[in-house]
């Protein structure tokens, strides 16, 4: 069996699961951000008085922090009251950061478990060998009530990556390249498994970039094969016992994709689709108005480190707003300690509080008609970050940092 099949079998008490089996799986972690408010409405409608397990539900705020409107403030207030009422143990108010960064920081991503979240980028946690997937608000209310959810066992795609990435070429460039090859529905309903030497040597943060963006080709779950790096990260963050699950040698895949990254160039997803991927040099020279480093995709310490090194002792182009959003409070503190925040501020960047920022078009840096933003985020749909007549390009932290300095899309030197 593949990892997906083995975890679903374990979670549903079955010996064997094959693709397209419908199983009822026990949920280990159930995460919701502000949309817990929508879940709550359905939960009240079901009429169950108590949630199934107050230690397995996570509620946190990251999409609209601090509240950008009265409506959001009311949402936050209602949820704080609900958290108190139910005694939810894992509640992270607006001070902590983005859900997909703080779940691992608080030891809630563990190999072999089933994690669901009312956020599409919940695939991120597959980087820890967790069966992690995004679900809707109504079905989450069912999870709050029963602790279980039905899944159709997915077929799996195995992606084996070998070779060394060139200087300034990162996990972001690799996954954009893969999405460009497979398309926006290239892994729809499927599980993805990443393995190979390149992945094995990657940091945990880089692995999270891969799992995070698999959502943009429709994946249900996206695993990185857990190894000693995974185990030591998880053990540093939790005392809870976990079982590492890896695929069987005779696991069946519907597709196997070998990739050699030796000559991979910096990649960029052009408006208005994440699979509209080109080498950065093909669109170099396009004038930009905003450069954004952050989000659940690329707001981690290593991302800020790369960008800081590039902008140190330099000035952001006068026509560009550089926004920097650390993914979490912990990342923010580390970035202060390392001196990155000072570098950004001195260069003319604007450092915002940890959270989703303008990525989903809620607040904190929306775009006017005709404006262009190059961002380390995960979606460039029409109107995603403000005006439907604006343009969002998705790239690595290095590409965004270089572009912020020149005022136009700029490919990093790879030697």
């Amino acid at each position: 069996m593949t990892i997906a099949e083995k975890i679903l079998a374990k979670a549903s008490g079955k010996k064997k699961v094959v693709p397209n089996d419908i199983v009822m799986a026990k949920i280990d972690v159930a995460m919701s951000h502000e949309n817990a408010d929508v879940v709550l409405r359905s939960f009240r409608e079901i009429g169950v008085r108590h949630v199934w397990d107050r230690d397995k539900i996570v509620i946190l705020f990251d999409h609209r922090i601090p509240a950008e409107s009265e409506k959001s403030a009311a949402t936050h207030k209602r949820l704080r009251e609900f958290v108190k009422e139910q005694g939810i143990t894992h509640f992270y108010d607006m001070k902590e950061g983005i859900c997909h960064q703080i779940l691992p920081e608080f030891g809630l991503c563990r190999p072999g478990e089933v994690l669901v979240g009312t956020d599409s980028h919940t695939t991120t946690h597959g980087a820890f060998g967790t069966f992690a997937t995004g679900i809707g608000a109504t079905e989450m209310s069912g999870v709050w009530a029963t602790g279980e959810l039905w899944f159709k066992a997915p077929e799996s795609i195995k992606i084996t990556v070998n070779g060394s990435l060139q200087h300034h070429v990162s996990a972001k460039d690799l996954i954009l390249h893969i999405i460009g090859m497979l398309g926006a529905d290239g892994a729809d309903y499927k599980a993805v498994e990443f393995c190979g030497e390149t992945i094995h040597t990657m940091s945990i943060a880089s692995r999270m970039v891969l799992s995070n963006l698999c959502m943009e080709m429709g994946a249900k779950v996206a695993f990185v094969l857990p190894d000693e790096k995974t185990i030591s990260y998880v053990k540093e963050h939790t005392n809870k016992k976990f079982e590492v699950i890896v695929p069987d040698e005779n696991a069946q895949y519907i597709k196997e994709l070998p990739i050699d990254v030796t000559n991979l160039e910096p990649q960029i997803a052009c408006p208005h689709a994440v699979d509209n991927v080109k080498p950065v040099k093909d669109v170099a020279g396009i004038k930009i108005h905003q450069a954004l480093i952050g989000s659940c995709t690329n707001g981690r310490l290593e991302d800020l480190a790369v960008a800081a090194e590039i902008v140190e002792h330099k000035k952001v182009h006068p026509d560009v707003r550089l926004l920097v959003i650390p993914a979490s409070r912990k990342v923010y503190l580390q970035a202060i300690k390392q001196g990155y925040i000072e570098i950004f501020v001195k260069a003319g960047g604007l450092v915002l509080n940890p959270g989703c920022g303008p990525c989903l078009g809620a607040h904190q840096g929306l775009l006017a008609p005709g404006e262009v933003c190059v961002a380390t985020t995960n979606r460039n749909f029409k109107g995603r970050m403000g005006s439907p007549d604006s343009f969002v390009y998705l790239a690595s932290p290095a590409t965004v940092a270089f572009s912020a300095l020149t005022g136009e899309i700029t490919a990093p030197e790879t030697e």
Binding site: N35, T118, G134, I135, T146, D188, R379, G383
Partner: protein
């Protein structure tokens, strides 16, 4: 509700079949959730208010909400509903009066949200042959799509029993209540 109980199946007799007919609204491939329901409206919680923004960001969707009639049918290409997990997308389409969404394929989370919020959906390989304004007659349960304008009949991909039961109940909450009542 019983704890840790598998979702029992409703008895066939207790459920109404879904047959609809209406005029077609046609959209293209990869219509994402930001086109179906722009992110700026996410704080809305009232379903009627949500419905007023259905398809607002989609190409050809400018006048959708003024002109859509109850019972109309939405037809799209591949990967309809890709992107965010926002359930508002399915809720807004349902609230606009659309009776069924027919697409060549759906993105996974939108698919689940549609089923769970009681918005009927069908996967039809030949969705592209249907033209804007075509009059359709759809038997959702049997997956039969009659195009009265073009005089054609299509068979959609079968829906799993569990999903059909949830759709027929009108969504997951109604289904859970119903199974509780019957079971």
């Amino acid at each position: 509700m019983k704890k840790n109980d598998n979702f029992p199946r409703r008895s066939a007799s207790s459920s109404a079949s879904i047959s609809v007919s209406g005029r077609t609204w046609k959209f293209g491939d990869d219509v994402d959730t930001d086109q179906i329901y722009p992110g700026k409206y996410l704080p809305l919680t009232d379903k009627e208010e949500m419905a007023r923004h259905a398809m607002e960001g989609a190409e050809g969707g400018d006048d959708f909400i003024e002109k859509v009639q109850t019972g109309d049918i939405l037809v799209a290409g591949k990967n309809f509903g890709c992107g965010s997990s926002r359930e508002h997308a399915a809720v807004a389409i349902k609230g606009s009066g659309i009776s069924v969404v027919i697409a060549r394929s759906f993105a996974r989370i939108f698919h689940r949200n549609a089923v769970n919020t009681g918005l009927p959906i069908l996967v039809l390989e030949q969705a592209e042959e249907i033209q804007p304004g075509d009059a359709l007659e759809v038997d959702v349960e049997r997956g039969i799509v009659r195009n009265k304008t073009q005089n054609k009949v299509y068979h959609a991909k079968p829906v799993s029993l569990l999903e059909m039961d949830i759709m027929k109940a009108g969504g997951l909450l109604a289904y859970l209540k119903d199974t509780d009542k019957h079971g």
